[in-house]
């Protein structure tokens, strides 16, 4: 999955989470607001009922006072006066209360203003009536009462109280409706928020699930590719191995078949030499017995031309034999079964150096091994041959008149061991740095014996052990051969014969 798409998904899901969080906060806010509105509505309702109670209390006390007056006029029981006084005492605070409760409503205030003188007048009437009755003027009192009754003050009070109550009822209804609509609005908002929340959640889920589906799909594709790759690698490896085995078999057969005619060439050359010896002995005999009889050309043929020709045939066939042997050795090397074992490289290298001590002393060279070298698990003979060849080369190809200094180093790195064999010898020209690893190829002045096999063998061995070899060199100053081997030999299924 491309980096950009990955970033986009992360950004989208983050946005989803953040907006969900904001929406939840919003929903919480609306819920709180809803509670508030509810509470306000409750308070208003309570207020309205309170006002209605107060006004009805006022009416009730008025009625009670009036009832008490009438009763007194009938039986002059002083308890009635007490009741009247008590009722009147309740009126003033209730009126004050009503005033304060409806202070925000001019209509009701006006009603209270209207109500107040009527109540006052009624109360005055009551007081006069009672006073007359207490003085014993019952007839005057009753007359006053009748006159007053015509004024219908109580009716007025009832009417105003009724109006008051009606107004409060209307107010209650309208306020209730208002709060109700506010509440409904809040609920709508809340609903919208919840829907938005659901939508955001669903969108986030979709983005993430699509992303994870894509991830899964790409992982499966990757797994498929991996398998394909492994199969391809295995196939290539098998191909390579087959090709390699074929080449080795070919080399083996060819070198054997070449050997047979070589035996004949050498054999009959020897027969020729033998015959030539006979002839030249005979020429000598004839010469001593009868000088001048043998022509010079015959003498030259028997004593010079034939030995010379035979000599060249011999040296060439000998060289050919060495080359064939080299191929045989290499092909046999490739067919040999490897036996990996734990190798103490410090010990192995010092043994190699010991076997080369004669050459080293002749060369006036020193070999330094920087211990500790990483231990390996490999075929002993193969590793031994690699380092023997490299050290022998280092001893052989020195700079004239410069004491050889050779150093072997090694370190382990990530499952592999890297060894370096450094010399201060004559170095290798750049054009030859690949060629020297090829069979029968040599570099520089051909002043040393050799067939051009050593490094080809070293490289074949390194490859076979799962490693590589390369060379760094400054021509005329020295060379460093770098051997890179796995710490442990992994048998790749190759069947040693």
């Amino acid at each position: 999955m491309p980096q950009r798409a990955q970033k986009r998904v992360v950004r989208l899901s983050l946005a989803g989470v953040i907006s969900s969080f904001v929406l939840v906060l919003l929903a919480f806010y609306f819920v709180v607001r809803g509670f508030d509105a509810n509470e306000r509505a409750d308070a208003l309702v309570a207020h309205s009922y309170d006002v209605k109670d107060t006004i009805s209390d006022i009416s009730r006390y008025m009625e009670r006072a009036e009832a008490a007056r009438r009763g007194y006029l009938l039986d002059r029981n002083p308890a009635r006066v007490e009741t009247l006084k008590d009722s009147v005492a309740h009126l003033a605070p209730n009126i004050e209360r009503l005033k304060s409760k409806t202070v925000d409503n001019p209509e009701q205030q006006a009603r209270i203003e209207a109500l107040h003188p009527v109540i006052q007048a009624q109360l005055d009437d009551m007081r006069q009536t009672i006073l007359l009755a207490q003085r014993g003027d019952m007839e005057g009192a009753v007359a006053l009462f009748r006159k007053q009754a015509e004024l219908q003050r109580l009716g007025t009070i009832r009417r105003i109280a009724g109006e008051f109550e009606n107004t409060e009822n209307r107010l209650l209804a309208s306020r209730g409706a208002m709060e109700q609509s506010a509440l409904e609005r809040l609920q709508t908002y809340l609903g919208l928020v919840v829907i938005a929340l659901l939508f955001t959640g669903a969108a986030t889920y979709m983005v993430l699930s699509r992303h994870s589906r894509e991830l899964l799909a790409s992982r499966m594709t990757l797994a498929g590719l991996n398998e394909g790759l492994e199969a391809a690698v295995a196939e290539r490896t098998a191909d390579l191995r087959r090709a390699n085995e074929e080449i080795q078999r070919f080399a083996y057969i060819v070198s054997h078949d070449l050997r047979s005619p070589l035996v004949n060439v050498m054999g009959f050359t020897a027969e020729l030499a033998r015959a030539d010896r006979e002839i030249s002995e005979f020429v000598d005999e004839v010469d001593s017995a009868q000088p001048g009889l043998v022509p010079d050309a015959v003498r030259a043929a028997a004593k010079e031309d034939m030995p010379e020709a035979i000599g060249f045939i011999r040296s060439s066939t000998q060289k050919m034999d060495r080359l064939i042997n080299a191929i045989l050795v290499l092909s046999r090397q490739g067919r040999r079964a490897l036996a990996p074992e734990m190798l103490d490289m410090d010990g192995l290298l010092s043994t190699v150096v010991d076997t080369l001590s004669t050459l080293r002393d002749e060369s006036n060279a020193t070999i330094k091994i920087r211990t500790p070298l990483p231990a390996l698990k490999h075929d002993r003979l193969a590793v031994d041959q690699i380092f023997s060849n490299l050290l022998e080369n280092a001893l052989k190809y020195r700079r004239p008149n410069v004491p050889g200094r050779i150093e072997v180093r090694g370190h382990a790195k990530g499952g592999r061991a890297i060894f370096e064999v450094e010399d201060n010898g004559r170095g290798i020209e750049e054009k030859d740095r690949e060629r020297i690893f090829e069979l029968f190829r040599r570099s520089g002045v051909q002043d040393k014996r050799g067939e051009g096999i050593g490094l080809a063998n070293v490289r074949a061995l390194a490859y076979r052990l799962g490693g590589t070899i390369e060379v760094r060199s400054v021509f005329g100053e020295g060379s460093t051969f770098v051997v890179n081997l796995p710490l442990e030999y992994v048998d790749d299924g190759k069947i040693g014969e």
Binding site: R259, V263, N264, M266, G267, F268, T269, E271, Q318, D321
Partner: protein, 147 residues
């Protein structure tokens, strides 16, 4: 040596040159026994098993065997000789170019008596053959008819 018939040398060698060199050197070593030469395995086996003067029917013999033959492997011939109860006491000298250790071991396993690698160097080759001739002149061969 004995009153028995002289030992016949059966040489199975596909390379005429090698055969000639071997014969020359055997003769130079002073061995004058009859020497029959075959260049392929079929004819050689026919001689060994069926020829009236062959070793199976008549007299002692010694086999010089090359391993690289056109029609069959020398080791097959060796196995056939050692599996045949009339022939299995016939000494077999394997004389070949192969110096492969496994091949040598296999020949000895099959019952070969001597294994000689043909050296490319002629002097050593001639030397080896002459040694073989000396060896032939002193060994006692079992009487095949009693086998």
């Amino acid at each position: 040596m004995t009153k028995h018939k002289p030992v016949q040398i059966v040489m199975i060698e596909d390379d005429e040159g090698h055969a000639r060199l071997i014969e020359k050197n055997i003769r130079r070593a002073g061995i004058s026994n009859e020497l029959v030469h075959f260049t392929d395995g079929t004819a050689a086996l026919d001689h060994l098993v069926n020829a009236p003067n062959g070793p199976a029917l008549n007299g002692p013999a010694l086999v010089l065997l090359d391993l690289n033959l056109p029609d069959m492997s020398g080791t097959d011939i060796l196995a056939r000789i050692k599996a045949d109860e009339r022939l299995h006491r016939v000494p077999v000298v394997v004389l070949t170019t192969t110096d492969d250790k496994r091949e040598i071991a296999r020949c000895y396993d099959l019952g070969c008596n001597v294994y000689i690698t043909k050296p490319v160097n002629y002097e050593s080759f001639a030397d080896a053959i002459r040694q073989l001739g000396l060896f032939l002149s002193v060994i006692q061969l079992p009487d095949a008819t009693e086998g």
